[in-house]
């Protein structure tokens, strides 16, 4: 299985999903109008990854901004990770937010409530 590498643009985030290391990173900003088209390949990749996952999967969430259209797609990603978690694999979501960004913390808390995967809410300066 190949690494999924997508360069960031003005409206879409950097994506680096590494199947061997089990590290999935999303960083930058996500505000595409048609979020579904952007996130579809990520979901497909996760489907395939779930068939042969690494022992330990860590999702590094480092977005500093996302629109509501992206929010829905993010939940889909978290639900895929939840499915993986249910197969007794180790799955963690590291949700990074700027220490003053209460909205991003609140969003992390919201997603954490909507899934059973463990969320680490990590402030940065």
């Amino acid at each position: 299985m190949r690494i999924l590498n997508i360069k960031p643009s003005d409206e879409t985030p950097l994506v680096k999903f590494d199947p061997e290391a089990g590290t999935l990173e999303l960083s930058g900003r996500s505000l595409p109008e048609d979020a579904m088209s952007f996130y579809e390949p990520l979901i497909t990749w996760l489907d395939n990854y779930s068939k042969e996952p690494a022992d330990k999967t860590i999702f590094y969430f480092k977005l500093d901004y996302f629109n509501t259209a992206s929010a829905k797609q993010l939940l889909k990603i978290f639900w895929h990770l939840e499915e993986l978690f249910k197969t007794k694999k180790s799955v963690t979501i590291n949700w990074y937010y700027h220490k003053n960004d209460h909205d991003m913390l609140a969003s992390g808390e919201r997603f954490a409530k909507l899934t059973t995967v463990h969320f680490n809410l990590i402030p940065y300066k």
Binding site: D10, L31, E33, T68, R110
Partner: protein, 380 residues
Amino acid sequence: MGENPRANFNFIYDLYRGMVQDGLTVLYRGHITPEITTLVLSTAENNLNYLNYSNTINRRVYFTLVEALQNITRHYLHNSASDSRLFEFFSLRHFKGDFLVTTGNTLEAQAKEKIRQRIDLVNSMSKDELKAYCKQILEKSEFSDKGGMGLGLPEMARKSGNKLAFDFVDYSDALAYFFFQVIISGSETNNASDQNQRYFENSINQHRFMVHNNLMMVYQGDCSQANVKNVIGMIDQVLMDKKELRKKKRILNVIVELLQNISKHGDGADNKTEQRPGIFIMGKKDSNYVLTSSNIVHERKAEDLIKKIERVNKLNFDELDLSINVKLMNNDNNNKGAGMGLLDMKLKSNNNIIFDVKPLNDEYTFFSIQIIISDTEPTN
């Protein structure tokens, strides 16, 4: 933005009437940075595609924008004074078939005379004289310490075919505010000078209006995604004040949702194109930011939208929170967006959504939405 936020909708409606005829207005009051120049150029380019002028006219508009904006970034005082009357100003309008590029900035009062002489000299020249003058400057090709060659003014005059308009407003003994305008005629014939004078006065009045109402940005044009990015980029530049950083993200959040709303659900001026005409205005009242968007909406959709807004406005914080979760979990793939825009705007602003609807004819309405971003935090 006036005592009563609703009163402001009349101004937007006036803009709309212009929109049908003219299709493009960008008014900006804040720091003009090289980043702003890039964003304005990109916005102009995207909009010029819909206005169907010849490449020659498009190039002239583009050239004038670059020169006029670089004139500010290169030459003038960047005044960070707290007096907002001194903020730099930029305006691009497509108006009655002509393009108006206007700038405003502070300069040292002692520089006035030199600038006046330079512009008067350029304005006194015939087309041939201007051509020879530009050639002469090019041949000398001496760069000033500010990086220019002094070719900007004569080239703008030559390419536009119109006289350069300018005026100074004294601010103090040491400072003056300088207005400058270039008119690019949409047709090959040059405009009558009294017509150009009216354009200039009109643009200065718009600046006055923006100062009076503390508006930072007015955008009227295509609101499809390419320009949404540009508008966001410009707002990024307007809100450079570190004290405002916390509000900045909420403002960007709301703007993205407002504009993507137009882009997704707005009715185009012409169904054959992707163009989504709309208006976006950002202003400040006390410490609150007032964000307004308007566009043309089919009457049936407008009724739906009103019901949705009224439903969202009735929700308390807990209900709002729950509604967002329900929307997030709803696995409806037919909706390109998430259908959460209104909920999110109320959540982020912690204020009710204000709206105004004006029927245009039996089928269409002009729909405005206003969001006020205040200092208050949402309460649990």
